[in-house]
Amino acid sequence: MKPILLKNQFNPEAYKVESYVAGGGYESLKKAFTMKPDDIIQLVKDSGLRGRGGAGFPTGLKWSFIPKDPTMQKYLACNADEGEPGTFKDRGIINNDPHLLIEGMTIASFAFGASVSYIYIRGEFVFGARRLEAAIAEAYEKGFLGENIMGSGFSHDMYVHCGAGAYICGEETALIDSLEGRRGTPRIKPPFPAIEGLNSKPTVINNVETLSTVPSIIKNGAKWFAGIGPEKCPGPKIYGVSGHVQKPGLYELPMGTPIREIIFNHAGGIKGGTFKAAIPGGITAPMLVEKDLDTRMDFDSLAAKQSMLGSGGVIVMNNSTCMVKVALITNRFFSHESCGKCTPCREGTTWITQILKRMEDGEGRPGDTAEIERLCGMIFGRTFCPLGDGATMAIRGNLAHFRDEFIYHEEHGRCKV
């Protein structure tokens, strides 16, 4: 498959508007302005595009929830918080092809009538944020943003908002709180952001990759898009592969490419040993082991394996990896990032991390593993937002395959591997 989203990854000039335009950039925007906004939404619906931020929600459908009232202020917020460990795909687009995102965002905003959009980029991406700001300035200059864009009558302003180190702000309602200048904690839904989002106005939140996919759909049509990969979740997808592989990096492949192919063909196979396990979609996603390697990397196939596609960040582990340590690292992360709003997540992740730390430090006690399992049960399904659930999914996915390593730690105070 010819890369769509990553086609400019290795073109060091592509971030400049001239170069982007020379490669056919902003043609899709031009084309979009010849269409009726509702037709754009329909086109995206027909394409079958599902959100790349993790939940896989149909993008066209999300846009269609926005009230049609033209007098009402509406917003688009691009989720560029990319915080899920093992994920680095959005950064690739932002750093190397910022105009692709800007074009996608402008088309989306035109489709559902947002006059202002924000790119919520994680604070650590200073380089990316500067790139985006420069690109936005260029786009204004060239008339791709601002008043009456390309004579379409559509006006649109775009701003970059930098986060400052909080994974939870990737959750869409927390992102809105953060954009409003608050602590980024999730809000009660309903009301959903499409009805009451930023500044209490209808707001769409879409991932960078999702929005960057939009220009190609406009250009090539829904049929073309739907023809790539599985029927229920088609399209090109960026997989980021990291960990114990020979060639870590981003690979844009048809949705539904088997994980074996991704790890062994594209990423060059295992580094420093043999395959032990892989996390398919950012650390929240439950692990896959050898026997699962033929699983296709798409929302539905992974869900059928009790895992998830999530962000598509594949983390590969070889046989030297201590799974208690992996559990500790993931849980330490969730405990560190728990916003503190709800009790089970706040207390539970911290508690589990404390136990794992002890186990890792050789002070495990009999019953620790069972206690962790009990605590997972006390968290799962009871938290305010999916972060708490995610924490338990990660550890349960680990325990499902490697419980014996945990018990070994309890008994011997050290690793089995």
């Binding site: 728990s338 503190g340 709003k341 009790t343 089970p344 207390e347 404390q354 136990i355 006390m378 305010f384």
Partner: protein, 838 residues
């Protein structure tokens, strides 16, 4: 309505009801932590999760509304297990130091563990500790974060209800601590509502610290003795000392809310300066005497004067029963109509105020007045400081429902932040402002208004002149007018500024009359600053009317009249029940001169006030905590209070004293208990006839509709008496001094509260930011305030957004009483400020 079942029980509730509330209606209790009715819903703590048939996950009953046909289970195995889990999580990082915690015994977490388990937690890791020692956050608040369950009720009540928003969640996850800016000392309302809403021992009262266990306390339901919002509370004592005043959700107008005065200002009761025995002047000295001697001498001495040479002034903090007997005593025993309540309001201002606000026509419910109304206009009241809990209740109602709100006042106030339009007018220009608004409405209404009775009045009015006089822009006046004109209903909050500057009532009545004539539904909520001011008037403690506002044949003198008469040696004897005239009357010198000329002065008091010290007879009385009775709040809500303890020493209730005197006068007279007096009141005052005394949150005790039928009587403006003492010109005295209550000070009682005293240590003068700049002053600087008649030293407080050219000194400072600046009952004076070294 929606039909559903909870635990198999069928119930029908209003659409939109939360599952939690529906369950409550069905008699099923679901435990909660972060939920509190009237606070924003966050669904964070997860203790209230329930099972709903067809839902994959357990749902928070505190945020999920009912749906038709819903099947809810709040006791299923999954729910119980989840609940236990959440409690175990709460305890995991909780310090579990119940033995040394003030909250033990009334702690929601303790209760919850007791009820729902688990009895044993398995947490064996290291607990997160925020600090080793508890740290004070204010003179009245002390904090222990190690006990916090992160329900954020403290933050929400502080932000959304109290409106100061000085608390926040610092950090995140398990390291999150709810505290102040960098844990520094708070500069806030010190209302302690954070303490009240805290389910555990995280926010605590400093004055109550380690004083008692809740089960060792004796309690009584009472009514706060400060402003007329009429908050109910429970005061509690241990070993004869009142240690706490608490409020509870679901009780009274105020629910769980109180202000600093209501929550901490009760300690004057235990002040050791309380009077404990009657004192009689013998050889120029006040010496202790027996009650028999005291009462006999009183009856004999007062009886010796001709009725027109006797007068009585009673405090608007006495109970209805006390006040009813007092006026009965003055009228039937001493045959005089020289009766007044408080020493601050002029007789005619009171009459006009009552008429303009419709107080004589029955009660008006605060909640009712806010429900469904299109516009709210707050004018003539310094509500945020004089009636703090009314401010809280308003803000809370605005939080749940947007209403267009306008505020007109010379001083900025906290409630401004809830208003869509604020108008800063010059002191005492309410008349100009309100007339100007009426004028715009009249002009806009065109045809519709042309035929009205009042049309004449508008003919010669110039909007520009009125706008100039008030200092409010014509555009703001226009905006206010248009909003009122465009509304079908409006509620006015009208307060004590109209009593200080009754001229404003002309404009107020005019505006109200015009709006009413234009078909608007107008409701007026009077906002009063003494707990039973309305009761005092209802009871007829007024020279011109008796109980139930029945006009009297020969109206007597009001407080100003009595003082003037005394000064002219036309009045010989005064019976003052609980008013420190020397401190309250807006002209200290006249008051002192007048009192010194009296032949006989009797004072009922808690303390030997300046006024009491001048008396011939001082009778020690019981405080609000030591007696039974009823009080009527500003809405007209009659509420009862019961005694917590016995008065100190030989002090007696005012009711006992008045009864005894009446009995001495009339052998038929036989009431001994306030309850009997209340029945008499019910027989005499129509609006009290069917009052049910409920201290629950109920509007039942409010009788009539609000006054929307006021006649068009407009006060004649009295001629301005120019009293320029030539020593000063306008340039010399550039600022206009006004007064009112301070958030922590309201009347004589507050000045005897050590706790309130700790919140504001010195007398202050408040100016706005522009003037502060102009005179090179900042908060904390010291100045002398010089007026025509007085000079005093004050600490400066700068308040952003107040009207420029205005200086404000609160009433009732022991050092620096503001009334010395005033003359002849006029509540404003020109002054200047001069910086002095600290």
């Amino acid at each position: 309505m929606a039909k559903l079942t909870i635990n198999g029980k069928f119930i029908e509730v209003k659409d939109g009801t939360l599952i939690l509330e529906a369950a409550k209606q069905a008699g099923i209790e679901i435990p909660t932590f972060c939920y509190q009715a009237d606070l924003s819903r966050i669904g964070a703590c997860r203790i209230c999760l329930v099972e709903i048939a067809g839902q994959r996950k357990l749902m928070t009953s505190c945020t999920t509304p009912v749906m038709e046909g819903m099947e809810v289970n709040s006791e299923s195995a999954a729910v119980q297990e989840s609940r236990k889990g959440v409690i175990e999580f709460f305890l995991s990082n909780h310090s579990l130091d119940c033995p040394v915690c003030d909250k033990a015994g009334e702690c929601e977490l303790q209760d919850m563990v007791y009820k729902h388990g688990p009895r044993k937690g398995s947490f064996k890791e290291k607990k997160i500790r925020f600090h080793e020692k508890d740290y004070p956050l204010s003179p009245v608040i002390i904090k222990n974060s190690n006990r916090c369950v992160k329900c954020t009720r403290c933050i929400r009540v502080c932000r959304d209800t109290v409106g100061v928003g000085v608390l926040g969640s610092m950090g995140r996850g398990a390291h999150q601590e709810e505290t102040s800016f960098l844990r520094t000392y708070l500069d806030c309302d010190h209302c302690g509502n954070c303490i009240e809403v805290c389910p555990v021992g995280c926010f605590m009262r400093r004055p109550y610290r380690y004083k008692s266990r809740p089960w060792d306390l004796k309690s009584a339901d009472t009514i706060c003795p400060y402003c007329a919002t009429g908050c109910t509370s429970k005061i509690q004592e241990r070993d004869g000392e009142v240690v706490r005043s608490i409020s509870k959700m679901g009780k009274g107008v105020n629910n769980e809310l109180l202000c600093a005065r209501g929550r901490f200002g009760f300690d004057f009761i235990s002040n050791e300066d309380r009077l404990t025995t009657p004192l009689m002047r013998k050889d120029g000295e006040l010496v202790p005497v027996s009650w028999d001697e005291a009462l006999e001498s009183l009856a004999v001495n007062l009886g010796a004067f001709a009725p027109e040479r006797i007068g009585g002034i009673a405090s608007a903090r006495l109970t209805n029963e006390d006040l009813f007997l007092f006026q009965d005593l003055m009228r039937s025993a001493f045959k005089t109509n020289n009766i007044d309540s408080s020493a601050r309001w002029n007789r005619d201002s009171v009459s006009a105020f009552i008429k303009a606000t419709g107080i004589n026509e029955g009660g008006v419910s605060l909640r009712g007045a806010l429900e469904g109304v299109d516009a709210i206009f707050i004018v003539g009241t310094q509500i945020s400081e004089e009636n703090p809990v009314t401010d809280y209740l308003l803000r809370r109602s605005f939080d749940s429902r947007w209403v267009f709100t306008m505020i007109a006042s010379a001083r900025a106030m906290k409630l401004d932040s809830c208003a869509q339009l604020t108008m800063r007018h010059d002191p005492a220009t309410e008349n100009a402002l309100l007339t100007a608004i009426a004028k715009v409405i009249f002009d806009d209404a065109g045809e519709k208004a042309a035929g009205l009775d009042c049309a004449e009045l508008f003919k010669d009015l110039s909007l520009k002149d009125l706008s100039d006089e008030s200092g409010v822009d014509q555009s703001d006046i226009g905006a206010a007018a248009r909003k009122l004109f465009g509304s079908e209903s409006a509620t006015f909050f009208a307060g004590t500024e109209f009593l200080r500057f009754p001229d404003g009532l002309r404009g107020f009545s005019l505006l109200k009359e015009l709006l009413t004539a234009l078909g608007k539904k107008i409701t007026v909520v009077p906002v009063l600053d003494r707990c039973n001011q309305r009761g005092a008037w209802d009871m007829g403690v007024h020279p011109a009317f008796g109980p139930g506002y029945e006009p009297v044949e020969n109206p007597g003198l009001g407080n100003a009249g009595m003082l003037e008469a005394a000064d002219a040696r036309q009045l010989d004897a005064l019976y003052i029940a609980g008013v420190d005239i020397l401190n309250n009357y807006p002209d200290f010198e006249t008051a002192e001169k007048a009192l010194s000329k009296l032949q006989y002065l009797v004072v009922n008091e808690l303390f030997l006030t300046g006024t009491a010290a001048m008396a011939d007879l001082v009778l020690p009385v019981a405080s609000f905590a030591e007696k039974a009775g009823t009080m009527t709040n500003q809405e007209g809500r009659v509420q009862s209070m019961s005694p917590l303890m016995k008065p100190p020493g030989e002090a007696r209730t005012a009711h006992d004293i008045f009864s005894a005197l009446l009995k001495a006068h009339d052998f038929e007279f036989n009431v001994a208990k306030p309850k009997g007096t209340f029945e008499k009141i019910q027989a005499n005052v129509k609006s009290y006839a069917d009052v049910e005394l409920l201290n629950e949150r109920s509007d039942k005790s409010l009788t009539g509709e609000s006054g929307n039928t006021v006649s068009s009587s407009i006060l004649e403006k009295e001629a301005d008496e120019e009293d320029q003492t030539p020593a000063y010109t306008a340039e010399d005295l550039p600022l206009t001094l006004i007064t009112g209550n301070h958030l922590f000070y309201s009347g004589m009682l507050s000045s005897r509260s050590a706790t309130l005293g700790s919140l504001l240590k010195e007398a202050i003068v408040e100016i706005n930011d522009t003037d502060a700049k102009k005179y090179d002053l900042k908060s904390g600087d010291h100045v002398t305030v010089t007026g025509r008649y007085h000079e005093g030293r004050y600490a400066v407080r700068v308040k952003n957004g107040s009207r420029k050219g205005v200086a404000f000194i609160p009433e009732n400072f022991k050092t620096g009483p503001v009334n010395r600046f005033f003359r002849k009952g006029e509540w404003s004076q020109k002054v200047r400020l001069k910086k002095v070294d600290a």
